[in-house]
Symmetry: C2
Subunit: 204 residues, 2 copies
């Protein structure tokens, strides 16, 4: 569960001299995202890395462990960033909500692949492999609910059902994941402000 990370800071950018384990994780990230988990074979991954299929098992005991590591490396940095944005009390709640939305949409638009979709794949959820992503998503939902609540009171709205409105805001942001399925090359600079403005209009 808790894993020590000893790298200085800039590690996840994929050095040219990455370890074999790291290259496996990166190949799997692409393949799982574009083909799905069940439809990606261990041979696909090994081919992409340039090793033979059984060599994967020197680094991971079972296929599912590769997916777990993909999750960890994908969502760890974003969670940290969310916490920082959430805590910056120098801004109004509306500004913090807006910044969070913009950051979130940019993450969903600009990652190399549409990794966020992974947590919604039925085979991933059914095999209980989405625990990390579900936890991340739930934590993020709580942050959104806090900010939406603060923004509402800031705007003098006390009548609204906070839970439902947070669901709507969350739906608006996460919907970007599905948009990206239709168009893999979303323009973050165009969409992020538009979604931010939409969220702020909803809580106003």
């Amino acid at each position: 569960m808790s894993e020590t990370v000893d790298a200085p800071a800039e590690r996840s950018e994929s050095h040219p001299r990455s370890s074999a384990r790291q290259r496996i994780v990166e190949a799997a990230t692409e393949l799982f995202s574009t083909r799905g988990y069940a439809a990606t074979t261990t041979r696909d991954i090994a081919d992409r890395v340039g090793i033979k299929q059984p060599s994967l098992y020197s680094h991971f005991a079972v296929k599912a462990d590769i997916l777990i590591e993909v999750e960890l490396q994908t969502f760890r940095p974003t969670v940290e960033r969310f916490e920082a944005l959430h805590a910056d009390k120098a801004l109004t709640a509306g500004d913090r909500l807006g910044q969070l939305v913009e950051f979130d949409v940019r993450m969903l638009c600009t990652g190399s692949w549409n990794v966020a979709l992974l947590g919604y794949l039925p085979e991933v959820r059914r095999e209980g492999l989405a625990a990390g992503m579900a936890a991340h998503s739930h934590e993020l939902f709580l942050v959104y609910r806090t900010l939406v609540g603060e923004a509402l009171t800031e705007n003098g709205r006390t009548e609204t059902d906070l839970g439902t409105l947070t669901e709507v805001v969350f739906s608006l942001v996460e919907g970007i994941i599905l948009r990206r399925v239709h168009d893999p090359h979303l323009d973050a600079d165009r969409l992020a402000p538009a979604v931010r403005d939409a969220v702020l209009a909803v809580v106003r």
Copy 2:
């Protein structure tokens, strides 16, 4: 491609005396939605229907054809309904947009299973099996764009990027599909008006 439907009107409700073919489609709808297409085996489907696996091939030539039929039966009625709502010129554009959103959210919330997710599964898209759903989605997008455009002029807004705003509205509605993955029992009566109000706030 074009298939004659000779049933009177009420056929898709699954009679107790359904044909074997129809029971296959209904079992597959549930299994594909909850386990994914690749992860659902033809034996799974046959077991659910109460026949042996090879008997499926008396009704469908290949597994993919079952998915195609699931798509057809799922999306045909909704498209017809969309057309009707879109064409009702007795209402203002805002009202028509609101009604369309409410209807759409209710469809996404209340179907027996989260079928809409099917069109976003990587393995379905990669094998070119999402054509029907993609066409449905594109057609729906055009309807939304028209209504969003009319609502904007109705509200005196001419400055806005119509394409981007339509993407935002669409994202808001489709995001419900992902919400339902987290919570399969969404309350349509609570969410549909909330999403409608959010959309109307965004175009105001």
